[in-house]
């Protein structure tokens, strides 16, 4: 058995033990798990929601759900994958809710109250800000699975094996979705990036 697989097994056993304690209501064990994974969950939530407060809400919601469903984790599967899947689902739900609220707000507010101009760029370089905004919009418009794979790969910096566990797809599918996402982004951003489409 290699050093890496021994390390992984030890880690999995530690997680399983912490989850058992969480089921018994152990506050300290729960806090340990949060400390270990809170930033990874935040990156996942922020990548989808692109808002600090919304992402923090999603982080809290994810760990609250973990506290309730710790018994559902199957040892042998990747805990990180399982947790990030939960975070992804919660963030997507929140994102949809926000989108719906925004649409409702826009349809119920008087026209003159709706900001029609784009938000001012936060950085000084407006061209760079435009590109970043265009890039964010393009990622947003990708098909959901392509978007998730892209976000997990580039923002969360996950391995394809971890992405496949988090999304419950094969590694081959994850790679294929990633390729399609890159191709689509390339097509959509060709005019902005000044490259041939």
């Amino acid at each position: 058995m290699s050093e890496v697989s021994r390390h992984r097994e030890g880690e999995a056993a530690e997680i399983a033990s912490l989850l058992e304690k969480i089921q018994a209501g152990d506050r300290e064990a729960f806090m340990t798990i949060i400390r270990l994974y809170q930033q990874k969950v935040f990156v996942m939530a922020y990548s989808i929601l692109r808002d600090r407060e919304d992402a923090l809400d999603a982080v809290q919601e994810t760990f609250l759900r973990l506290y309730q469903k710790a018994g559902l984790y199957r040892p042998g599967n990747s805990f990180q994958g399982w947790l990030l899947q939960m975070a992804k689902n919660i963030s997507i739900d929140a994102y949809r809710k926000h989108q719906r609220k925004r649409r409702e707000w826009e349809t119920t507010r008087p026209l003159e109250e709706i900001p029609v101009a784009a938000e001012p760029a936060r950085t000084g370089d407006s061209a760079a800000a435009d590109l970043r905004s265009a890039f964010a919009r393009s990622v947003d418009t990708l098909a959901e699975r392509q978007k998730m794979v892209f976000v997990m790969r580039h923002y969360n910096e996950l391995q394809f094996s971890e992405i496949s566990e988090a999304m419950k797809i094969s590694i081959g599918t994850a790679k294929s979705l990633h390729f399609k996402a890159v191709q689509n982004l390339r097509k959509r951003l060709a005019p902005v990036l000044g490259i041939e489409s």
């Binding site: 806090m31 990548s47 992402a55 609250l64 970043r132 790679k175 951003l189 490259i195």
Partner: protein
Amino acid sequence: MSMRKMTKAEWAAFLSGDREEGRRRIMGEHIEKSPGWQAEAAAIERLLKETEAVKAEIREAAASVNWDTLPAMIADRALAAGVQARRNVADSPRWGWLASFPLKPVLAGLAAGLVVGAAAMYFTLRAPGVRRGQDNAYYASGDFLDRAELEMARRNTLDYLEKSQYVLLDVFESADEGPVVPPALRSERARDLLQKKKYLNAQLERFQMAKAKVLCDQIETLFLELSQLDEELSAAELGRIRGFVEERQLLLKINLVKKELQSGV
């Protein structure tokens, strides 16, 4: 590696870093040599650089979060929610879980489907005609039916013996004082009794009425002979029949068996 051999799959593998170092190097060299692929690689590289900007934004947002206090805050919320949930479970009525069903459209739909399906099955498959409850008046147990049939067998045997007795007495009286009953009628009665005996055989066998069966068989033999003889019996024939009856003590046996059967009725 020719330009044509650089497929989508190769690109996907190259982009995902899913190639061993040697293969990656060869692909890199190939891209460097081909201006078309070089431009493509540069475009993708430029595109992926944009992820750095987003990553920087995420890092900036993450840096502003107090990660030391967040775990305690979440743990407090979770424990409070857990206590509240246990309290709600304890306070909820016994059938409180039913109240959650209307909130779940899939379950509600499933339940409605089951009800409609069951109703459709009932109306489609129920037996036509007599309904349950209406046929109770005709119900009889197997035991009761057996006893009724035994009773019928006894009565039929009694009737057969009695009628046979009349015919035999008639034959005897005819032998002493001349015909009381016209011979045609006597023969007809004998034939009737022969018919009846055929029906009686099954009953006598079924209920194992051995004694009555032996007697009835003897009477049957006699009647068979009577029905085959001429209507006008000669004195010799009558004497032979009378001898047969007396020899077998048929009349006495008829009386005894009749009494036995009557006591059982």
